[in-house]
């Protein structure tokens, strides 16, 4: 046990070489890029909507196909089953996710400057937590929309949870829900953290008490 902890400590004290630091800069850029693209795409296809109704979820905004018209159309259709209208203002996470992204970029740059393996590990753990929490939060949103149907709505359907990842059939619609470009940048961010760590695995740990 003692040796394990010792090894851990040595590992976390490993310095990051130039390649690792470049990786971290690239990772920070990925976060920036993910801000520009939708993180998730939800698409509803039915015979009379052959090209589909498209919703794009960004870190900070909700966008819909045909200049936003698709969101109005989805809400219009959803009113028949008594679903609450989907409104950007209801997505509180769209205020704190950009804040979190900013923190990731700062922590990334901090790791570049401080250059310790421990910084990368911190960042990765925090990011993994952020990822899991966001997915959970997203799922809860979908659950809330699908479960709280107005009982006075014209059409009565069994409450349901729109699918988070994959495809699902609701009445005449097939729903497709998949990560979009922004999420790929986030995955790239996680992957770059791992690569940064691997590239510096062979570095010798720095003795914190050693002075030059």
């Amino acid at each position: 046990m003692q040796t394990f902890l010792k090894k851990q400590e040595i590992f976390l004290r490993k310095p990051l070489n130039l390649w690792s630091r470049l990786c971290l800069i690239a990772a920070a850029a990925c976060i920036g890029a993910s801000f520009l693209f939708p993180l998730w795409e939800i698409r509803l296809v039915a015979p009379q909507y052959r090209d589909g109704l498209e919703l794009y979820i960004y870190a900070y905004q909700l966008q819909a196909g045909n200049d936003g018209q698709h969101l109005d159309e989805i809400n219009l259709l959803n009113h028949y089953i008594g679903m609450q209208p989907i409104r950007e203002a209801d997505f509180v996470e769209m205020t704190w996710i950009p804040f979190a992204f900013g923190i990731f970029i700062l922590l990334c740059l901090r790791a570049v400057v401080f250059g310790r393996m421990g910084n990368v590990v911190d960042l990765f753990v925090l990011f993994a937590y952020f990822g899991l929490f966001s997915m959970g939060n997203f799922y809860y949103r979908l659950y809330t929309y699908g479960q709280n149907l107005d009982p006075r709505a014209p059409m009565t359907i069994e409450p349901f949870t729109p699918v988070l990842f994959g495809t699902n059939r609701i009445a005449n619609f097939t729903q497709y829900s998949y990560p979009d470009t922004g999420s790929y940048f986030l995955i790239a961010f996680g992957a770059l953290l791992v690569v940064a760590a691997i590239l510096s695995l062979r570095e010798k740990p720095i003795d914190p008490y050693e002075t030059r």
Binding site: D72, E73, P154
Partner: protein, 628 residues
Amino acid sequence: MKSKRTTRYLQWVPLVAVIPILGACAPDEIARDFDRRSAAEQSYVAPGDFDDYYLFYSGGHSGNVFVAGIPSMRHIVTIPVFTKYPGKGYGYDEVTKELLGDYTWGDIHHPALSKTDGIYDGRWLFVNDNAHNRIARIDLRDFKVKEILGPIPNTSGNHGSSFVTENTEYIMGGTRFSAPIPRGEYAHPEEYEERFNGVITGVQVGQENGEMSVGWQVLTPPFNWDLSSTGKGPSSGWAFFTSYNTEMAHTMLEANASQLDRDLGAAVNWRAAEQAIADGNYTEIDGVPVIDPAEVPGVMYFIPIPKSPHGMDTDPSGQWIVAGGKLDPTATVFSFEKIEAAIEAEDFEDEKRGVPVLTFDSVAEGQVPVGLGPLHTQFDGQGNAYTSMFIDSQVAKWRLPPWTDEEKADLESVVIDKIDVHYNIGHLVAGGSDTREPYGDWLVAMNKHAVGRHLKVGPGIPETSQLIDIRGEEMRMVKEAFTDKEPHFAQILRADKIDPIEVYPRAENTHPHAIWSFDDAEIVRNGDSVEVKMISIRSRFVPDIVDVQVGDTVTFHITNTEQTPGLTHGFGIGEMDISGNIDPGETKTYVVEMDRPGVFPFYCTVFCSALHQEMQGYLSVRPAENSE
């Protein structure tokens, strides 16, 4: 090895067995069967696929324009123009009521697509009203009438219209039924020669917005101006007209207007007419500057044309002008070069009321013996002309000049092919024939008598339109379709030339009473006048109860807030004779007088959604307060 060869021979056995059977059928029967099949393939457009061309038919006295696709010939949509059309809510809202005016019908003969540089530009389709002397402009962005000009002053029976010039500067028009002018002036028809007049009209078109106005008119003797076409290339700036009744008969025209061997057509220099207006050489009659061609030389020349001619079509090069003889079995080809030379040399054979008559032999290139009753001519852009023959029920394909001396000696030799059409063809249309670059693949023959061509439907028989493939040396009949009364001329437009909208973008809605939120829906009373701002959206009207009383004038401003293609909502009021249609993103205004008490349902007439039946409301009209 040997057995293999035997098998190979054996596979021919069934075919060999079939040959005697085939031999038993008439060979042309088989050929026809193959023909029929390939024709079916040519015109087949699979479900879900698009046609290659739009076909805009004039709807004659139905007052509508019919839109079909080529090559399938399927009718796609009807554009109401001069007639109320409840199916599209046309003529019920305030805007279309005003467009229609007081007339209940119009007689559309000649649709004309707008052009830029002699090519269809896909902006507008103009149609004439032969009955009430009007011209309508249809916007091809949404396939709706945007403007109706007229009745045009001083004219009566605007038949030779609407033919547009190379850059849509003008739409040509002409008086078919001469009358005393200005309109309203009285003279007995017996005073026809002295007191009646015709005019040729240049309707000016706004280059940006397409808005029409009467630019000028040229005063003419009381001939019956029939058809026209506009010049291009060398003949740019000119328009050509046929007339019948040079005899100036006022009764029994059938015989009395068929006495002369040649009638007088006209070449009108519209640039010279513009100049005359600019120079002030005109008299204003009923608000229109009218040019007397006897006093302004160079504006108009008469051209003798055999006999009671009908069509007057300029070829894609602008060099040849072809007149159909109607009572003469030839198509006369005039050379614009020769017309210019004759004008230059003052080579006139006569003069009629101060207007020079060009010498026929000096301006005619030749008379092609096409057959009986030649009416209209279209062009394929490859040097061929196609003339419809009413009496022969045929289309003749023939070659335009230049001709060799040998050919000129026997013009029968330039006739390449003839095809039967069923029956009594009037107009025919080849895609882009009146442009510099015809499409050259399809021709549609529009026939006046369809007797025996269709399932019997009682005495009111339809018309036939026949699609003819003109890509080969010989013409081939491909498809037959039926239309309601009554296509005259048509226009063909390549489908990719336009990209019409299917919803009105909300941002473009400028109606002062448009609303987009249920919160803005309201009913406001001001004395006897009640204004309702209403929303229609799947599947409801907001508000859906409208309380008023007898004596009120109720104005509904209904906004269809949908932005989804196909989601037009109707607004029908039972027993109040309102059939409204509000397209997605559109706001329309309906004014209804409350003349009796009762409760009147209003409902969506256009099937919109699963709960379309439920899309309804009540107009609740209580008795007038003072009557109780």
